[in-house]
C-alpha cells in the first residue's frame, strides 16, 4: 500500500482552478519529483499536502489517515520545507533546532538526542554555535532540512529546495535526500532544475494548468507521451588508415540492426537512435545496445568507445507540457 494516495484533488480560487483532478501515489522510500511551469499548481498542491490549505474536492490519504478530514492526525507525519527556508536572525543553529524541537513537543533527553542526531545527519555540528543569519544559503537550507526532520516525519514535502544553491550544495542536498529515502521516508520535491530532479528522483509527476499530465519513471512518461520508447547510443570509432570507408560501413551496419531508426555523424562519433514500439520501458535498451556492439565488433569496425543515453527529464517535460499556465 502506498504511503501517500492523492485522489481527484481540486482547488479553486474564485473562478481560477489552480489544481484540477490531480491523482498520484507515493510509496515509502521513494522520491517523487513534482515538475511544472510557474503557476502550474505545484505549490498549491504541496500546500494542500502540507495541510496548509484545504481542497475543494478530492481526498488525500497519508498512512491510512485522511489529510482532509483529520489534518491534526497527519500533521506529525509530515515534514514541510517551503521555498523560503524560514530561519530566524539572532539565533544560533543549535537554538533554532532546539526551539523547533520544543515546539514539536520533544522534552528533556529526547529533545537533546533528536537535535544532536539531526545536526549530525545534516553536518551542522561544527556550525551549531553560529548565528543562522551568518550562514550561507546552502547551510541555511541544511538547517531548514534539519528542522523538517526533527519530529521524524514519514513524508517530506520540499518546495524548490535546490533553488539558488551552488553546485556543491546541490550535490550535498542530493546525497542527503537519497539517504533519507534509503531510511524509508517518502520525499515529494518540486524544482525547476530538471537535470537535478532527474538525478534525485525515482519517479516524477508533470503538472500544467493545474492538471497532472503524466506520472511515473521518466522513460515511462516519454513512452506514455509518444507511444514509443526511445534511447540513443553513442559510438566512437577509430577509422585509422581506412578513413571514410569505416564510417560508411558502420552506418550501413547499424541501420540493418533491429530498432535502429536513425544514425547521424557527430564529430568522431555516430549517434544512433533506437525506438521500441509498444511504449513499455524495460531491458530492451541494454539488449539492443549489446546486439549493436556485437554486430560492429563482429564486422571488424574499430569501436573505441560505446555508450547509451536514455531520453532525459527535459525531453519528457518538453514533450508533455505545452507551456501553458493556469
Amino acid at each position: 500500500m502506498s504511503l501517500l494516495e492523492v485522489k481527484g484533488l481540486r482547488r479553486d480560487y474564485g473562478a481560477l482552478r489552480a489544481v484540477d483532478d490531480v491523482s498520484f501515489e507515493l510509496e515509502a522510500g521513494t522520491i517523487l519529483g513534482f515538475i511544472g511551469p510557474n503557476g502550474a499548481g505545484k505549490s498549491t498542491t504541496m500546500r494542500i499536502l502540507a495541510t496548509l490549505d484545504t481542497p475543494n474536492a478530492g481526498q488525500v490519504m497519508l498512512d491510512g489517515h485522511s489529510l482532509v478530514d483529520t489534518p491534526d492526525k497527519v500533521r506529525p507525519l509530515i515534514g514541510y520545507m517551503p521555498d523560503r527556508y524560514g530561519t530566524y536572525d539572532d539565533v544560533t543553529v543549535f537554538e533554532f533546532l532546539d526551539f523547533f524541537a520544543r515546539a514539536y513537543g520533544l522534552h528533556g533527553r529526547e529533545r537533546a538526542r533528536r537535535v544532536a542526531s539531526v545536526m549530525e545527519f545534516t553536518g551542522l555540528v561544527p556550525l551549531q554555535e553560529k548565528l543562522t543569519s551568518a550562514l550561507s544559503k546552502g547551510m541555511k537550507q541544511r538547517v531548514a532540512l534539519g528542522r523538517t526532520l526533527l519530529h521524524e516525519p514519514k513524508l517530506l514535502i520540499l518546495d524548490e529546495p535546490a533553488d539558488g544553491l551552488d553546485p556543491r550544495a546541490r550535490i550535498e542536498l542530493r546525497e542527503l535526500l537519497r539517504a533519507l529515502a534509503d531510511q524509508g521516508k517518502a520525499v515529494l520535491i518540486s524544482s525547476h532544475i530538471l537535470t537535478e530532479l532527474a538525478e534525485i528522483c525515482d519517479t516524477c509527476a508533470i503538472i500544467e494548468q493545474g492538471r497532472l499530465l503524466a506520472t511515473g519513471r521518466v522513460a515511462d512518461i516519454l513512452a506514455q507521451a509518444t507511444g514509443t520508447a526511445v534511447a540513443e547510443l553513442l559510438v566512437r570509432l577509430f577509422p585509422g588508415e581506412e578513413g571514410e570507408a569505416v564510417w560508411a560501413r558502420a552506418e550501413r551496419l547499424l541501420l540493418e540492426q533491429p530498432r535502429v531508426k536513425q544514425v547521424a555523424r557527430e564529430g568522431d562519433a555516430l549517434r544512433v537512435r533506437l525506438e521500441h514500439e509498444g511504449g513499455a520501458a524495460g531491458q530492451w535498451v541494454d539488449e539492443s545496445a549489446a546486439r549493436v556492439l556485437a554486430a560492429l565488433v563482429g564486422a571488424g569496425v574499430p569501436v573505441c568507445a560505446f555508450s547509451h543515453r536514455e531520453r532525459n527529464l527535459e525531453d519528457a517535460f518538453m514533450h508533455v507540457t505545452k507551456g501553458r499556465v493556469a
Binding site: 495541510t51 514541510y80 523560503r84 530566524y88 515546539a103
Partner: protein, 502 residues
C-alpha cells in the same frame, strides 16, 4: 581527601536533580518565550533602549541628588518619579509593543508562522508566547528602573501606594498595548495593507504613550488617597480596565483566528470571546443597577452602546467565508453558532443583540421611573437593535444575495456597511430639507441610524409625549426583520452552494 570526595558525591545527585527540575520547568515553558527572549536579548534594539533608559535615569538621579542635597525637607519626589516614569513609559508603551508587532509581522512576511503552526503549537500558543516574551523583556526594563522609582519615594512628595497604583495601571496599559500590537500584525496580508497598518500602529503607539503619561501625571499629582475616595474615578478606572481586558481578549482571539488554518474551528475563540464579553458586561451592569439604580436614560444608553458595539464587531463576524471545511461539517448542528461560516456568525450576532435588548429592557424596568419620558426611553431601547439589525443585514443582502461574487468579499461588505450607514446618516436629512421639512423630520429620517435613533430617544416636553410612537418603531422593526430574513436566506443559499462545490 576522602571528606572532599564524600561531599562531592553528596552534591552531585543534588545538582543533577536541580538541573532535572530546571529542565522540566523549561520544558513547560512556551517555546516561543525561550526563543523570543533569546532573540530579544541579542537584538540591538534591546541594548540601545536599555542603555539609553538607564543613562537617562542615572542623569535624572544625579540631578535629583544635586537639587535635594541642600534642602533637608525636599518634596521633589513626585516630579522625579514622573521623570523616571517617562523613561520607562517610552520603552513600555512604545518600544515593547512595537517590537512585539515587528516580531509577528516578520514571522508572517517570512512565512515562518506557517512552520510554527505545523509544529502543532497552535495560533493561541504562538500569540501567547509572543506576548509573554515581550512582557518578560518589559519586566527586565522595569527591574532596571525599579530602584530609581524607589529612590523618588525617598525624595518625598509621593507615597508608595501612589507609586504602586501608577505602576499597576501602567502595567495593564503595557499589557493591552502589547496584545493590540501583536494582533495588528495579523491584520493585513498584502504589502500596502501592511504598510498602512504599520503607519497606523506607529501613530497609535505615539498617542498611547501620551495617554499613558497624562494618566500617570494625573495620578501621581492627585495621589492615591485623593483618587481612591472618588466613586466616579473608581467606576471609570474599573470600566477602562474591563474594556482593556475584554477587548484585549477579543482582539487576541481574532488574531488567533486569522492565523488559524481553514481546516480548523477558527471562529470558536473570537465568537466565544464576543459572547462572554457581552454576558460578563451585562452581569457587571446588572450589579451596578442593583447597587444603585441609575435613571431610565442609562438603559437606553446601554442599549445604544451595546448595539453599536455589536454592529461593528458583527459586521466582521457576519462576513466570514461561506460554508466551512469538510472536516468540520459533520459536527455542526443548527445551534453551533460558534463554528465557521457567515450564516452562523450572522445568527450569533442577532441572538446576542436580542439578548442584550432583553437585558436593557430589564434595566429599564429596574430604573427609577414613573415619568412620561419613560416611553421615549423604551422606544430608544427597542430602536437601537432595529437599526443595528437593518444596517448589519443590508450589506449582506447587497453583497451576497446576487449570484455574482463581485461584492461578496468580506472587505467590500465591510466598506458597504460603513458607506451605507454613513450615506443614510447624511442623505436622509438632506432629502428632508429638499422637501421643505425639518432636518430631523421623523418620517424622512425613519431609517437614519443616527437621527432616527435620536428621534426615538427624544421626548417632547411641551406636548408631554415622546417624539416617536410605537407604530413608527414597528415600521423600522418590520423593515429590519425582512432585511435580516433576506440576508439569512442569502447566506444559507451561498453556504449550500459552497458545500456542494467541495
Amino acid at each position: 581527601m576522602s571528606a572532599l570526595a564524600t561531599d562531592t558525591a553528596g552534591t552531585a545527585p543534588r545538582e543533577e536533580a536541580r538541573r532535572g527540575l530546571l529542565e522540566r520547568l523549561g520544558d513547560r515553558l512556551n517555546p516561543l518565550v525561550v526563543k523570543e527572549v533569546r532573540q530579544g536579548l541579542r537584538s540591538r534594539v534591546f541594548w540601545v533602549s536599555f542603555g539609553l533608559m538607564l543613562l537617562s535615569c542615572f542623569i535624572l538621579s544625579m540631578v535629583a541628588y544635586v537639587s535635594t542635597r541642600e534642602g533637608a525637607l525636599s518634596t521633589k519626589g513626585q516630579g522625579f518619579f514622573f521623570g523616571f516614569y517617562v523613561c520607562l513609559a517610552m520603552v513600555h508603551f512604545f518600544i515593547i509593543p512595537y517590537s512585539a508587532y515587528r516580531s509577528l509581522a516578520r514571522e508572517r512576511e517570512d512565512e515562518t508562522w506557517v512552520l510554527l503552526i505545523l509544529t502543532g503549537l497552535g495560533p493561541r500558543r504562538i500569540l501567547r508566547g509572543k506576548v509573554a516574551s515581550f512582557l518578560v523583556q518589559a519586566a527586565l526594563y522595569a527591574s532596571a528602573v525599579g530602584p530609581f522609582l524607589l529612590f523618588s519615594y525617598y525624595l518625598n512628595g509621593i507615597d508608595l501606594p501612589t507609586i504602586l497604583l501608577v505602576l499597576v495601571l501602567g502595567a495593564s496599559w503595557l499589557f493591552f498595548l502589547t496584545v493590540v500590537a501583536v494582533c495588528a500584525a495579523t491584520l493585513a496580508d498584502g504589502r500596502i495593507g501592511r504598510a498602512l497598518v504599520h503607519l497606523v500602529l506607529l501613530g497609535s503607539l505615539g498617542m498611547a504613550v501620551m495617554y499613558g503619561l497624562i494618566a500617570a501625571f494625573f495620578l501621581s499629582e492627585q495621589g492615591y488617597r485623593s483618587v481612591s475616595r472618588e466613586e466616579g474615578f473608581l467606576i471609570a478606572t474599573g470600566a477602562c480596565l474591563w474594556a482593556m481586558l475584554s477587548y484585549g481578549w477579543l482582539l487576541f482571539e481574532t488574531a488567533a483566528a486569522r492565523l488559524s488554518l481553514a481546516t480548523e474551528n477558527y471562529t470558536w475563540g473570537p465568537r466565544l470571546a464576543l459572547t462572554l464579553q457581552l454576558v460578563l458586561t451585562g452581569v457587571l451592569l446588572l450589579g451596578l443597577w442593583l447597587w444603585d439604580a441609575p435613571p431610565a436614560g442609562a438603559a437606553s444608553g446601554a442599549s445604544v452602546l451595546g448595539c453599536l458595539h455589536l454592529a461593528i464587531t458583527g459586521i466582521f463576524v457576519a462576513t466570514d467565508v461561506d460554508g466551512q471545511a469538510r472536516a468540520l461539517r459533520a459536527h455542526t448542528r443548527p445551534w453551533s453558532l460558534l463554528r465557521p461560516g457567515a450564516v452562523r456568525g450572522f445568527r450569533l450576532v442577532v441572538v446576542l443583540m436580542l439578548g442584550w435588548t432583553g437585558l436593557c429592557l430589564g434595566f429599564l424596568s429596574m430604573s427609577a421611573g414613573g415619568r412620561g419620558s419613560d416611553m421615549a426611553h423604551l422606544l430608544g431601547v427597542l430602536a437601537a437593535p432595529a437599526y443595528t439589525l437593518f444596517y448589519l443585514s443590508l450589506p449582506l443582502v447587497v453583497g451576497r444575495l446576487p449570484q455574482s461574487d463581485r461584492l461578496a468579499s468580506p472587505a467590500v461588505m465591510r466598506v458597504l456597511f460603513f458607506s451605507l450607514s454613513g450615506l443614510a446618516g447624511a442623505l436622509l436629512p438632506l432629502l428632508a430639507v429638499l422637501f421643505d421639512q425639518r432636518v430631523d423630520d421623523p418620517l424622512f429620517n425613519l431609517l437614519n441610524p443616527f437621527v432616527g435613533m435620536g428621534n426615538f430617544n427624544d421626548y417632547n416636553h411641551s406636548l408631554d409625549e415622546p417624539k416617536m410612537n410605537l407604530g413608527l418603531l414597528a415600521c423600522v422593526w418590520l423593515v429590519a426583520v425582512l432585511t435580516a430574513f433576506a440576508a439569512d436566506r442569502a447566506l444559507v443559499e451561498r453556504e449550500r452552494r459552497a458545500h456542494a462545490a467541495s
